[in-house]
């Protein structure tokens, strides 16, 4: 499989505070992160607040300038490009943001928001752009006649669809989603996840999903990068990671998720303490202050990311740690009643959808997921 995007030793330090009498603090948001995105895969970057996952996303598109390190899109180094070349390249890589309320210009109509990238990149005539805009709206499940409306007329889920339509406008090959569904309610979140998966298949996209929700990531991604305080602690194929997390942090993260199954309620081993500040990260392994298995070496020597058979782990001792038997089963036992009602719901939902499609042929270009205006 070929590599579409490659980040090598990416580092981003922010200076914060400082003044006449104070030394500025250096926040090490991202500290030496290397990874490759393979063409056609969905790669997830997961971690808690302050782990640097969003910064990595922005560095990857050069929306932020890296302190050091390089990003290559199909072998071309982004850092060495001038603005024109970079703009041309941005056609190929787009971003979907978390908050659909602040990422859309409230003074622009849907048509302008979605059509702007086409205009920016000089794609097609005015009429062709208008056509394309209408098509894009229907692809993401909105009505083409909504092109004249403004963002405030739409719900959160619909706005996220607008953001997705805009990202798709220039026919990108790589889309980076920074928490693309985390601001949405569960039922709307499911609609948008399904939409992203449909679009990925339909347009052969490569997706990078930055998120904190491990269930969303399990559902969407092929491979996962786990970050903690600006460093990668583990990377693995999704199934392998969830079956047997190797790094103590990944284990703790998975164990902390409350499962929607009251029968699995149990007193669990929880991580102690808070996430340290990235302005003053711990020495050695950054996780050692909270790690239940930490030893003297962890405080002194920073573990390198090393091969663990098809995956990588940054832990000195992962081979010798007690087996992850404390981990919970993540498969949720389903009662017969629940399974049956779920099946009924699915059946009737499919019927409802095909009825809606038959009733509104105009919306059949995309999946008519949100028929209400």
């Amino acid at each position: 499989m070929s590599t579409i995007l490659e980040a090598t030793d990416l580092t981003k330090h922010f200076r914060s505070g400082g003044g006449l009498f104070h030394k500025p603090t250096i926040v090490r948001a991202v500290d030496g992160v290397s990874f490759a995105v393979r063409t056609g895969e969905t790669l997830a970057i997961v971690g808690e607040s302050g782990c640097g996952k969003s910064t990595v996303g922005r560095l990857a598109l050069r929306l932020l300038e890296a302190t050091s390190g390089s990003v290559k899109f199909e072998g071309k180094d982004l850092a060495s490009m001038d603005e024109d070349a970079l703009r041309g390249l941005r056609r190929e890589m787009q971003m979907v943001f978390q908050d659909p309320f602040s990422s859309l210009n409230p003074r622009m109509t849907l048509g302008d928001i979605v059509g702007e990238p086409l205009w920016l990149h000089g794609m097609g005539s005015a009429r062709e752009r208008r056509e394309r805009t209408r098509e894009l709206l229907s692809i993401v499940g909105l009505r083409p006649e909504h092109a004249q409306r403004y963002p405030h007329e739409f719900s959160g889920g619909q706005r996220q669809r607008i953001g997705i339509a805009r990202a798709l406008a220039s026919n990108p090959r790589l889309v980076i989603g920074d928490e693309p569904v985390s601001a949405l309610d569960v039922s709307i979140q499911a609609q948008v996840i399904n939409l992203l998966e449909d679009l990925k298949d339909r347009f052969s996209l490569t997706l990078v999903i930055i998120a904190h929700d491990l269930a969303v990531i399990r559902h969407m991604s092929d491979r996962v990068i786990v970050m903690y305080l600006g460093k990668i602690v583990e990377t693995a194929p999704t199934a392998a990671l969830y079956a047997e997390p190797l790094h103590p942090y990944t284990r703790a993260l998975l164990a902390a998720i409350p499962l929607p199954a009251p029968g699995l309620r149990a007193e669990r081993k929880l991580l102690e303490g808070d996430i340290p500040s990235p302005a003053n990260p711990p020495s050695g392994c950054r996780f050692h202050t909270r790690c239940p298995f930490a030893q003297a070496r962890c405080r002194e020597e920073e573990p390198a990311l090393r091969d663990a058979g098809g995956r990588e782990v940054a832990c000195h001792f992962y081979e010798t740690l007690p087996r992850a038997d404390a981990e919970r089963a993540v498969a949720i036992p389903e009662s017969a009643a629940k399974r049956r009602r779920m099946a009924l719901y699915r059946e009737h939902r499919d019927r409802q959808e095909s009825d809606a499609a038959a009733a509104a042929p105009a919306a059949t270009a995309g999946r008519a997921l949100e028929p209400s205006a």
């Binding site: 499962l259 009251p262 939902r349």
Partner: protein, 356 residues
Amino acid sequence: MPATKNTDMPFSSSLAPRPSEAGEPVLRVEGLGVAIGPAERPVTLVEDVSLEIAAGRTLCVVGESGCGKSLTSLAIMGLLATPPLRVASGRVLFEGRDLLTMEPRERADLRGDRMTMIFQEPMTSLNPAFTIGDQIAEVVRRHRDISAEAARATALEMLRRVRIPSPEKRLDEYPHQMSGGMRQRVMIAMALANGPRLLIADEPTTALDVTIQAQILSLVRNLQRETGTALLLITHDLGVVAEVADEVAVMYAGRIVERGPVEAIFDDPQHPYTIGLMGSLPSLAGDQERLVTIPGSVPPPERMPRGCRFSPRCPFAIAGCHTAPPPLAEITPGHWAACIRAPLEAFVGAPAGEAA
């Protein structure tokens, strides 16, 4: 303090919960309604909500944005922004006394003492200009006639009980010097300082990272076990519900659509909305092909459908669903659902794939 003017509201609900065998519940809400807008054309935001919680028990109210879960909790606490919001109907019985007909001063004496509340964002609930020690002590002195030293000692003890490391030092720190998780611990310390009978927690872990959320949930559970406080927890997260609830009320568009013991809700979901919500959750086991969805979105309150509020989105809706709001009916003992087609298999048959 907002005063509620609803002195003698008729009790509108025919479906008030029965008193539990364990005796008088700490909190009993009957037919609560919250409205906004002019009296002649009110827009109902919360309608006919009835629930009860016994001492030491946890009731989770779960629902998505705009379902009225937070308004319900604010109405119970008497913290609704009145006007424009107002309690339009119902009774809120706390230890048997109706809070809605109580003198505002008396109610203010209960608040922070016998019934307390914690919110989603601890930073905005704490005063940035005072040390956390002062803020906890203030809550104690507002309701107890004790010296400043004794109140400070109580504050220290509370910080210890919510397991804040080096509490002596933290006592003199300001909110901005603490992390989100620590601030939420401070809020819990403050809420429990006077030994309340009822604690309302509105999305207490939503702003927190998952490892910190697990700590806070476990802390709340342990403290509740020690104190026997009744807990009303508002959340949108079914995982959190499964983790802490004894009973669950599922809300949709201002109404309770399903209510019952936590096992019944998860193992025997009755309302199509509850079923759709569970199907929308991605699973950690990675065993789903495609997520089940609920089509569309919640209608705005001024355009609520006349019948079942979920009917425009419901895959099982029939003509009868659109005409009148379905009553909350007892499907199995203690398990109620507001759906005229529950249990589903009795009305729509077995799923096609199922061998008899």
